[in-house]
């Protein structure tokens, strides 16, 4: 039985010898795990059915994808210590079994062919070129959102990590945005649970790994933007930055504020605003406390998911951002800030404003298309060096309520979302809600704890007591 199984497995893998050996070894380790768990052999072989590999590991890597319009800036602005990375994590009810997670990734990756890619340099633009290899998982040994080495042959632009009961996926932003990343994470976790014998249906954003990827999942949907009535641009005045020495490790600390979502909703409702507006108000106050500056404005960048305005199935980048800005002298109480924030969000995150920004992005990309990369690259580095993240003080990216199938609920206790830090912004905040827990994550670029301490105190004052988890401070 086993001999036939490995024969069949061998027929599904046509990779270089070393990769094939590793892949087969993964299946052997998974079988050993099942054997240790006293699972009948036929059931184990059925779960690890080589048919699930499809033709992915047999076919030569011929696919390639131009970067979407938002992703084009990321490789241009990348430096050896500066890379746009974000991370999505799922916390399970039990510790992760690495042998099974590896197989889950091996099965899942074929459904996301544009993730199974390596970044390449074209004459005019970078692009992603498919790569066929074993995509390894890794044990978490470092602080989240560290740079990914994308330079070597076949290097992937994402990594799957595990630590205790947590599965994390870190993405270089060229591949996808938070929404696309979440689809990948949910599909991976669902496959992991299926391999452990839990029946998880393909619903609520979980893709069927047996399905063929569709063209619209990997399309660049920026040109879909409707014409807008107002002009838009990317230049802005420099924003006020929080004080505190910049750390050498980026980020130097990650914190998660786990909050009761009902309590948070009630607090926002009592102020007559959305959760995003409420958290923004608290961030403005905490930001003011965390800076010594007395002049200038605090600008908070708020990414906006364009899928809510424009019908799209793309799993690649399809988001823009708006900015909420308040002069530091006007930052006072939550009640006084909320009308300003609500007004700015309504104006700056409107469909028209977002379409205008998308149009500006498409126009910029088109105007630069015939400029060779060796000219664009240094120009982008200089422009990014001058402007960079200085036009913002902080970011709040809210992925909203994450929906998972009921069958998955007992096994997935929590999820979180961490944004990698940029150059000068001392903090980057991100948020999502799963079930009755809202998790606000803060990635820090300074050891100064004023911002998070004040934010915590403000939440408590408003009737929401967060449970705080995170990392130690590094790089000081």
């Amino acid at each position: 039985m086993l001999e036939n199984y490995f024969k069949l497995l061998d027929q599904h893998i046509l990779l270089p010898k070393a990769e094939t050996k590793l892949l087969i070894s993964d299946f052997k380790k998974a079988l050993l795990f099942y054997s240790g768990a006293e699972l009948p052999l036929d059931e184990a072989l059925s779960r690890l059915n080589p048919e699930k590999l499809g033709g992915f590991y047999c076919r030569p890597p011929t696919l390639w994808y131009p970067l979407d319009d938002a992703a084009k800036i990321y490789p241009l602005a990348m430096k050896s210590r500066q890379m746009s990375i974000f991370r999505l994590s799922a916390y399970l009810s039990e510790d992760i079994v690495p042998e099974i997670l590896q197989i889950a990734l091996t099965f899942t990756i074929k459904r996301f062919p544009f993730f199974a890619t390596t970044i390449k340099k074209g004459f005019f633009w970078h692009y992603i070129d498919s790569t066929k290899k074993r995509f390894p998982i890794g044990r978490e040994t470092s602080i989240p959102c560290q740079r990914i080495n994308v330079s070597v042959t076949g290097a992937q632009s994402f990594r799957v990590l595990y630590y205790q009961n947590r599965i994390s996926v870190e993405f270089f932003h060229i591949l996808t945005d938070g929404t696309g990343g979440m689809v990948f994470l949910k599909t991976l976790v669902a496959e992991y649970l299926r391999l452990l014998g839990v029946n998880i249906p393909c619903e609520n954003g979980i893709l069927d790994i047996g399905d063929t990827p569709t063209a619209d999942e990997c399309s660049n949907d920026f040109p879909k933007a409707a014409p807008a009535n107002k002009p838009s641009g990317f230049m802005d005045k420099p924003a006020l930055q929080m004080s505190g020495k910049l750390s050498s490790v980026k980020p130097c600390r990650v914190l998660h504020f786990d909050m009761d979502s009902e309590a948070l909703k009630a607090a926002a409702k009592s102020k007559g605003c959305t959760i995003t507006a409420f958290v923004l108000a608290l961030m403005f106050i905490a930001g003011r406390v965390a800076t010594d500056e007395t002049k200038g404005s605090i600008h908070i960048q708020v990414p906006v998911n364009m899928r809510s305005f424009c019908k799209s199935n793309t799993l690649r980048n399809f988001s823009q951002y708006c900015s909420v800005r308040i002069p530091v002298t006007e930052v006072s109480t939550v009640d006084e800030l909320l009308p300003i924030i609500k007004k700015q969000l309504a104006e700056n995150a409107s469909e028209d404003a977002m379409n205008a920004m998308m149009n500006a992005t498409v126009k910029l990309v088109r105007s630069l298309r015939f400029v060779p990369l060796f000219v664009k690259h240094p120009a982008a580095l200089v422009a990014f060096g001058f402007m960079g993240d200085k036009v913002f003080s902080n970011t709040l990216s809210n992925l909203g309520v994450i929906r998972i199938p009921e069958e998955m609920r007992p096994y997935v206790t929590k999820m979180d979302f961490v944004l990698g830090t940029s150059i000068t912004n001392r903090a980057a905040c991100s948020m999502l809600t799963l079930g009755d827990t809202t998790t606000l994550s803060i990635a820090k670029l300074t050891a100064d704890t004023s911002f998070e301490n004040k934010l915590y105190a403000l939440f408590v004052e408003n009737g929401v007591t967060p449970s705080v988890k995170g990392s130690e401070i590094h790089g000081h």
Binding site: K120, T141, I143, V150, V152, Q164, R166, F370, G470
Partner: protein
């Protein structure tokens, strides 16, 4: 605010590398600042240009390699091309007359090395073909310029041009459609 630690203590290996890089950058910048001043003050040949370029080669090759496509073929191509430029600079700044002979030999060696790297692992290196194509293109241009009489025609230039042409033909025959597919990717707008 009590914080429950849920992350492992990070390894700081990469940090040490970054620190070394930072120190070396300052050393190189200081040298790049001092050398031209000393060169101008004491007069004579423009040796400081050679020093600055040599530091640039060390910086690009060892301390600050490319962040995208830092593979064996591109590393080899970059390093040997930088060396060829260094030879030209030595010829121009220090002792002239031999670069027109030596540089085509270095480029010829570079083409041979890239050809070997490519053909011993075509399946992997197929996606890393571009540095070789650039060198082939440059070599053919050099040959055409030499034929036009703008460069001195000598046997290393003829060997370089003919090797480049042969390598191009063999690559096209080997890769066929893939060759043009690779060009389409590389030149997409």
């Amino acid at each position: 605010m009590d914080i429950e630690i849920v992350y492992p203590k990070p390894e700081l290996r990469t940090q040490a590398r970054e620190e070394i890089k930072k120190i070396m950058l300052w050393c190189f910048l200081t040298a790049a600042y001092i050398c031209p001043i000393v060169n101008i003050c004491i007069g004579g040949k423009l040796w400081s240009i050679v020093v600055i370029w040599s530091m640039w080669v060390v910086w690009c090759t060892l301390l600050n390699p490319p962040l995208v496509e830092n593979n064996l073929m591109s590393r080899t191509a970059h390093f040997l091309l930088n060396c060829a430029i260094l030879l030209v600079l030595i010829d121009v700044c220090l002792s002239s007359g031999w670069a027109g002979f030596v540089v085509p030999i270095v480029c010829f060696a570079l083409l041979v090395v890239l050809g070997i790297l490519f053909f011993i692992d075509i399946s992997q290196q197929r996606q890393n073909i571009m540095p070789m194509l650039w060198i082939i293109g440059g070599s053919l241009v050099a040959l055409v310029i030499a034929i036009a009489g703008l460069l001195k025609m000598n046997w290393p230039t003829i060997a370089l041009g003919s090797t480049a042409f042969a390598l191009l033909v063999i690559t096209i025959i080997t890769l066929r459609r893939q060759f043009f597919a690779e060009l389409k990717k590389r030149f997409h707008i």
